[in-house]
Amino acid sequence: MRWLLLKDLTILRRSPLQAVLLVAYPILIALLIGFAISREPGKPRVAFLNEIPPGARVAGGNGKLPAVGVNRRICRQVECVDVGSRGEAERKVRDGDVLAALILPADLIDRLNSLSTLSPETPEVEVLVNEENPLKAQAVDDRITALLARANLFIARQIAQEGGRYLNLVVDGGSFDVLGQAVEILGLRDTASILEALRPDVPAARRPELDRVIRFATLARDNLDVAAPLIDRLAQPIAVDKQTVSAPTPPLEVFAVAVAATLTLTFVVLLLVAGSLALEREEGTFARLTGGLVSRSALLAEKLGLGVAVGLLVTLLMLAGVQLFAGLAWSRFGLWLAAILLGGGAFAAAGAALGAAARDVRSVSLLAFMVSLPVALLSLVPSGAVGATLYDAIRVLTALFPFKPALEAMTAALDSAGPGIGAPLFHLTILIAAYTALARLALRRFAAV
């Protein structure tokens, strides 16, 4: 069998395109994943035009609320590109220099101030976007909506906080600044005390009326005390208490590495084994080999060994490349090996079944892509993202192909968080047995077709 293995490796070496792809593919994947996980997600570039006159402030009652610093806050969330005019903002959006343009119109503060009057106007900001395609339109919409939701929440909290301060002034009394002049507010607490002190001096006939005023002041003081936290809650009435019911999940970067490693294993092993087996028929050597030189089972075992060996090498090469960007737990190397060997074995067996079923190398390569790519994508569909029936169908389909269990095994091997590695390894073992049996069956009619 070793002579056959050496022969296949020599043929692989003599096929420059295949050999380059086998080396270049993991390096490319490693670089892409490495760059993606070693950098923070970039802030979207947003053109920012502030037309609000300098010194404009949001008013509150008879006084002024402090400036809320919306522009400063927004520019913390996105990369603000200051522009001088609406035309410049439009141009930048159209040319794709920025994702969107945010324009704070000159009347924004006036409209905000009108909210506390009898003729309120809705404050509006302008957003210019370039929706080149539905995907970008959705992405821009989501980003801008999230951005404005945060700004609105911040403003609401500032206003609620200011409102709470005024309530405290009404209850406890204190000093209040109106047009630069300090105004002393008595407060409900002191009002009640003063009235109670005056009560003995008030004629008995008028005391019931005075008692009504004292009772009102006391009641108002006691109840307004609880209004302040209520106003605060109005800014964000619903709080989120997130609890994870599934097992802890590994960090996103570990999952990304596992996806990359599994994809590498899928394409390298599946294409190599399927192509190598189909090549035996294309070259006419299958009949010669199995005509007494080697058994069909031995030939099948050789192809599986070839796929697993090359898959192991290429996947480890890819992981070593990723290591340059992100720390991987090399202490779990034994588990990596188990995941790669059994995952590679399952892909090799599936590749052998495909190779034995197809006529030539070209059709088997096409078939391998047509089968593996959709299954790999379906394996990444999370529960809840599609309807229950469709998800059940996807689960059944992805369970029949090695990608999903291989991905689960690889994820579990790379990180201790998440479900254990035992179940996916067992699943892969079953798939190896099933696909090997299928391939062996298909080889019976391999030479005859």
Partner: protein, 234 residues
């Protein structure tokens, strides 16, 4: 090598209908017949690459060299790598020695390092035959060995094959070229629609035709052969 009552079915179609066959040491046997007669099926069964539905095959010590019609070679390996691989798989004692011998025998010594894909059809066929000879088989089976070769290459091929028979190897070959069968085959096996119609020398076949259609027997051998088939409803 001896085979008796060989039957092979592909679905409802019977490709071989109880064919008997024998080849003696040093004998050159030509298997001829129209398309679909069962020539390749018979040789494949004798070579062991196809299983018969009925009948028996006895071959000397199991050593049968098989040269399929289409060169069964790894086109990305060199001539020498191909020979060495199959020599090792055959389990011969001294693979490198045998390969050297085959390179000398087929005249491919100078092209040993060349990738098979770059060789002409004739040279690929010589490598194909050399692989069939690696285990020094007592019987060599060749399926249409001269297809695609130019006249000079054909002449060299038959000279080479005759040399093998001269050294005691039984050579069984199928061909569509009736003149070639008459010239090189010491014995002819005529198949038609899976039936063995004739087993004997070219002269014996011509004699048979002479009794049935004297005008056909006087012409070339191909005319006599066609007349023989026609008289038997083929």
């Amino acid at each position: 090598m001896e085979a008796r009552g060989l039957v092979k079915r592909y679905g409802d179609r019977e490709a071989l209908k109880g064919v008997d066959f024998a080849a003696h040491p040093g004998e050159l046997v030509a298997v001829i017949g129209p398309n679909g007669a069962g020539k390749t099926t018979l040789l494949s069964i004798l070579a062991g690459t196809l299983r018969a539905d009925a009948g028996t095959v006895e071959s000397p010590n199991g050593h049968v060299g098989w040269v399929p019609q289409r060169a069964s070679l790894y086109r990305r390996l060199t001539v020498e790598e191909n020979l060495l691989l199959f020599a090792r798989l055959e389990g011969v004692g001294d693979p490198r020695g045998v390969v050297e011998e085959m390179l000398g025998l087929t005249g491919l010594g100078e092209r040993r390092g060349e990738v098979v894909a770059r060789l002409s059809g004739g040279n690929q066929q010589r490598v194909n035959i050399a692989i069939g000879l690696l285990a020094r088989p007592a019987v060599l089976l060749l399926d249409e060995p001269s297809v695609g070769l130019d006249p000079r290459q054909r002449a060299r091929l038959w000279e080479f094959i005759a040399g093998l028979a001269g050294r005691g190897t039984s050579v069984v070959f199928s061909t569509h070229d009736i003149q070639e069968a008459e010239r090189y085959g010491q014995r002819l096996l005529v198949l038609a629609d899976g039936e063995g119609l004739f087993d004997g020398s070219a002269a014996e076949l011509r004699e048979t035709v002479r009794g049935e259609a004297p005008e056909a027997a006087g012409g070339d051998f191909e005319t006599a052969f066609l007349s023989y088939l026609q008289h038997r409803g083929h």
